[in-house]
Symmetry: C2
Subunit: 476 residues, 2 copies
């Protein structure tokens, strides 16, 4: 552990113990530097880390203050492992009933799966679309139908290259969004009845895909900050005939955890040694808050066992339905399966995105998008600190647009979901993220919409519901 | 059989017997009316029918002549039934090797799966797309992502209504082209190992879908003119535990046959009585040459056993990837499966087509498209009559853009395929349309491209190859 991390832990200890109370000013950088015997820059780093963890916040020209806040522990609760080693998956009815409620346009969209569409450059993309369809010739259209738009593929390969993953265009398969890429990859490497390692909690679409293909889930716990538990995974790969892994090593949905680079390398070595394909779901690749883009597990993949899947749906063009996979040694199989099931992603959508990537200013847009999301995360954290019960736990992720709240133990998030919906607030209850319907006291909230008075009121309302008896787990 | 059909058969008999030779003038309408004791209009009808069958052709101001022609029999060969009752399907390697050759842009595209893209109003559609993306709001986009574009759905429902199928918008699921609609429907109503009734010959994607889902094919013969053999189907439904049917009752791919309305009604009654879902693949719905649009089997479906699938890919917007299904009692299941596999068809593509359907002049475009295809069919038939061996059989279909040629018995169409490809001509060999790799002496040729000297030369080249020994089935 580095010195500034130690320092951050010490100060966090003071906050937890109540020595530093909510609202109180933390020592100035100069004073802390003197009393702890460290450089001012170490103090700054420690304070940044504490800010990042939601423990303190800066006020302009005044220094740092302990937040009116959740008790964010330095070492968050370890999510417990599943009791059964491999579970049949049967969540679709629950998921669909929740998702249909989430579609109600008159609710505060904390349960939404996308960030606010107004964050995307839809008008600029529209101009790219107009250019694209004007330039569209009949013969090129037919060629692109089976092979994908070569300009788009080149642009995607370029972005991989910049991020340290050298890929030939032939290694990319363009799909109808990341969802199709993930489905095709999973289908390619499994047979009904096979075991697949997934995260716990996991993105509900992962659970549904397993259910649909009659696969069994081996749940690997995800730590809210450190991500996937590689020790448990190593044990399961050793002892069970796992045929595939499907993980989100970066900004995991729902908890938001990311593996660091060492763990990504270790994960790649582990699955390569076992020759078990890894479906790397990286749809939030572009939504990091750090200065540098994190490298995917695919970066370490020398033998082609990683099937890296992503899309433009969360970063640029929701609704266009353009995603892709770099599927390593499985590329040809995935490509054939695509041709047999949907043939192709929409060609005009591919051309529009290719044009935008070349001329639209994607990186500028992304920088702005990240800033906005980061600011909104801070606002939701502050509101949660103010309104939610003190026994709420959260680990603010370094990107994306979700916060995963572990509520007091006796809260039933499905009850919360229904009570909140009655008050015009949507949220994503924990059990839809679990093959074994655990995480009953957890919710995923979306901060991807503009933060306003209504958001603030909704957080206060949720806090009120959380304090009522109606939300408690029924006895027996 | 009606009187004019009898008359047509009699005259066809004279042609086959050589009593009327190629190039010879057939009796004038007046003379035939006298000698057969029928009205001139009956003679006209008979001659139209003969012309339709490719047996005679009109010369301006001179009357009808026997064509330099294939011996198109009045009662074409009955396609033989499969030996085994239910077959494992394993065609993908063959199909993919053929399809990849078909993609070569430097060949005469007789093997193509689409008509020439220049036949479609791509520029007008592009304007619709520009309007659509300019009008696109963020919030509507997210709503359309799960439910489909309501304007598009309304337009599709309207077209069904005009054609005698009353559908509520909720009964329609918008998909990534018809291919996804068909895949989802099949997946919804089957389990691995199930028996599925398909046509013989069948569209190769049907065979691939069965192979992918590990289903077994029960092949029902398709008569080149009358279409699916309902007696064989009735017997199979009686004796085998068939779980689904997948047929093209209109302009069947590859042979081009269509069921008449009585047979469609009978087919609907049959599957309803057995409670076996029918996937009605109707992608050529709009490409009929008759004055009136034929009604789909779905028209007769009172109990929701018919899953009618179609798209805009063959009639308006190739590459946009917008199709749909009206899946009767299975609609909700299909819709859920869509949400779990690809989520949605591209929203801009849906909006562009919706705008075009309202303002673009779809019916005018379709009338022109049908005329063009019909004229090109006549040209290909004439060239085949001139260049192909006399023992070639064909039944010109009443629509679409394919002709299915049954070549002399000892021709190996895979050899023909390779020899033709070496000479820059593509074609679709018979075995790719068969679960049991039959139809070795058959080919499907596409007449959906503008007929020119190159087409004519290519037909002559094919005729030359067909007369060479290199194309014969190897002994033993």
């Amino acid at each position: 552990m580095k010195r500034y991390e130690q320092l951050a832990d010490e100060i966090a200890g003071l906050i937890r113990a109540g020595t530093l109370s909510p609202g109180e000013k933390v020592p100035s950088v100069r004073r802390a530097s003197q009393s702890y015997g460290v450089s001012p820059s170490t103090v700054f780093q420690a304070y940044y880390l504490l800010e990042d963890r939601g423990l303190i916040s800066a006020r302009a020209r005044s220094g740092y203050y302990v937040r009116q806040q959740l008790r964010v522990p330095l070492h968050e609760r370890q999510t417990v492992a599943s009791q059964s080693l491999a579970a049949e998956v049967d969540v679709s009815d629950l998921v669909f009933s929740v998702l249909s409620a989430l579609r109600d346009p008159n609710t505060v969209p904390f349960g939404a799966a996308f960030p606010c569409p107004d964050l995307f450059p839809l008008a600029r993309l529209g101009r790219s679309m107009s250019h694209a369809v004007q330039a569209m010739s009949g013969s090129s259209l037919v060629a692109k139908l089976t092979a994908g738009d070569p300009d788009l593929i080149r642009q995607i390969a370029l972005r991989y290259g910049v991020n340290g993953v050298a890929l030939a265009p032939e290694e990319l398969v363009v799909t109808n969004g990341a969802m199709e890429a993930l489905s095709l990859c999973l289908k390619c490497v499994t047979q009904p009845g096979d075991l697949v390692a997934i995260e716990a909690p996991a993105f509900y679409a992962t659970l549904q895909a397993l259910e649909r293909l009659k696969l069994k889930a081996v749940e690997i716990p995800v730590h809210p900050r450190d991500g996937l538990d590689l020790e448990v995974l190593a044990d399961r790969l050793e002892t069970l005939p796992i045929k595939a892994c499907w993980f989100m090593p970066h900004l995991q949905n729902p908890v938001g955890a990311s593996l660091d680079e060492d763990k990504k390398r270790a994960l790649c070595e582990l699955i390569t040694r076992h020759q078990v394909p890894l479906i790397e779901d990286d749809v939030y690749a572009e939504l990091y808050f750090d200065a540098q883009p994190p490298r995917p597990v695919k970066h370490f993949d020398r033998e082609g066992w990683v099937m890296h899947c992503s899309s433009f749906s969360k970063s640029l063009a929701p609704g266009y339905r353009v995603g892709w996979t770099a599927a390593g040694r499985f590329t040809e199989r995935v490509n054939r399966l695509r041709l047999m099931t949907t043939i192709s992603a929409s060609v005009p959508a591919q051309m529009a995105i290719a044009d935008y990537l070349q001329h639209g200013g994607y990186d500028r847009h992304l920088r702005k998008l990240r800033q906005t999301l980061k600011a909104q995360q801070t606002q939701m954290l502050a509101a949660a600190a103010q309104y939610f019960p003190a026994e709420t736990w959260v680990s603010p992720p370094a990107g994306g647009y979700y916060l995963w709240f572990e509520l007091p133990e006796h809260v039933d998030s499905l009850k919360l979901f229904r009570l909140a919906h009655a008050q015009g607030i949507s949220l994503a209850p924990g059990p839809i993220f679990s093959a074994s319907q655990r995480f009953v006291n957890c919710v995923r909230l979306n901060y991807g919409y503009q933060w306003d008075e209504e958001s603030e009121r909704a957080m206060r309302t949720l806090g009120g519901i959380l304090r009522s008896e109606a939300v408690l787990v029924s006895a027996g």
